[in-house]
């Protein structure tokens, strides 16, 4: 379980990174990288100002 970032929508602002309780996200220049510590809490999904993050439920 994880989230996906639509990189065609993403404005690479870092809002999602700052709220991630698992430190699973990183803003690398102009894209977001997600590591496997994501626990699917969806906090980032609601914070993203442009709605670029989708929750992936298996």
């Amino acid at each position: 379980m994880t989230v996906t970032v639509n990189r065609y929508k993403c404005g690479y602002c870092g809002a999602c990174v700052s709220v991630c309780p698992m430190a699973a996200l990183e803003l690398v220049e102009t894209w977001i990288e997600i590591n496997d510590s994501c626990d699917d809490c969806d906090t980032c999904v609601n914070i993203c100002p442009i709605g670029a993050i989708e929750s992936v439920k298996e």
Binding site: G11, G14, S18, V19, E29, T43, N46, P49, G51
Partner: protein
Amino acid sequence: MKNKYDVIVVGAGPAGSSVAKTASKAGLDVLLIEKRQEIGDPVRCAEGADKEGIKRHIKPDPRWIAAEVKGSYIFAPDGTKLQISEKLSGAEVGYVLERKIFDRALAEQAVSSGAEVIVKTSATGLIRKNKQITGIHARSIGESVDIKAKIVVGADGVESKVGRFAGINTTLAPKDIETCAQFLVSGIEVDEYSHFYLGNSIAPGGYAWVFPKGEGVANIGIGVRGSRSGKGMPVKLLSNFVKHHFPTGKIIEVVFGAVPASGPIEKTIANGLMLAGDSARQSDPLTGGGILNALDAGVMAGTVAASCIEKDDVSEKALMEYEIQWRETIGKKIRKSLVVKEKFGTLTDEQFNTLAHSIEGKCKSTMNVFDMILALFKANPRLLWEFRNLIK
């Protein structure tokens, strides 16, 4: 790039460049790294800043002043207009900056003071010896490198990693962040005032702004409190706001960003490490202004770094001087702002309107944001009882 410095500063925004300039002026060997290939770009800011405050840090240059504003208009949900002047309107208006150029000018100041700047280089971790932080693991244009330093300063913004690497919890709860969208809008009529619009349907737990950027152009944006936002809410609300208020406007740039609005966090230092600016959550929770606090904190951090290195003690205990200095100044202000923000977050639109009516026409031209808060309290002591401790 060498493999050893006195100070490594991570992040070349206002806080980082201010630390680097101050520390190198004091004679230290300083490396300033920026993860992006360009300093100041992409912008994630509404670009308003207090003029007198900025002038304390850098000589004004028309290249990075997009516009100057005389003051602010604040609009209640029913359209009631309050006015505050420039002279005392707090830390959020005065200049509307061109951040792309401003940030680079600050970095140039650091360089001319003797600092070394390297771009497209990010910190990926910290080097430790015993319990002391002694440098960073970095990725510089795709290559892994280790760089040693007596002190590492994290000035790596809202998405800060350096604090977390050091074991400092900088994670923001959704209620402690404003999630923002902004359009640079052209072809509209603008005046010489910054405009702020309050209301739960306009911007839940935040506000909308219009900051003039010169003839017919303005930054128009919206900040929503994270705990009240939903997927993509800021950009949807902003699109509606612009359509409604500026139907002829043409969007020529889009900006996204987030502002820490937590008030002071528990700690911003560790053995051999300091945080400054947005990474230290030093932005104002009420106004969202962060540039001046970052510049001021940068001077404090750079000065303390120099005195600690001179005394050959960079322990957390020695760096406590920085923690004390910024809490006494910036910390006090943002703690007060947090009280006001928390209360405003509970008000209905009707209550906002009532408050605005209570001081409509009574705002003196010398009022600043805080004077206005006090006037509101005096006129509405029951509604704003939480503000009683702010009067001192």
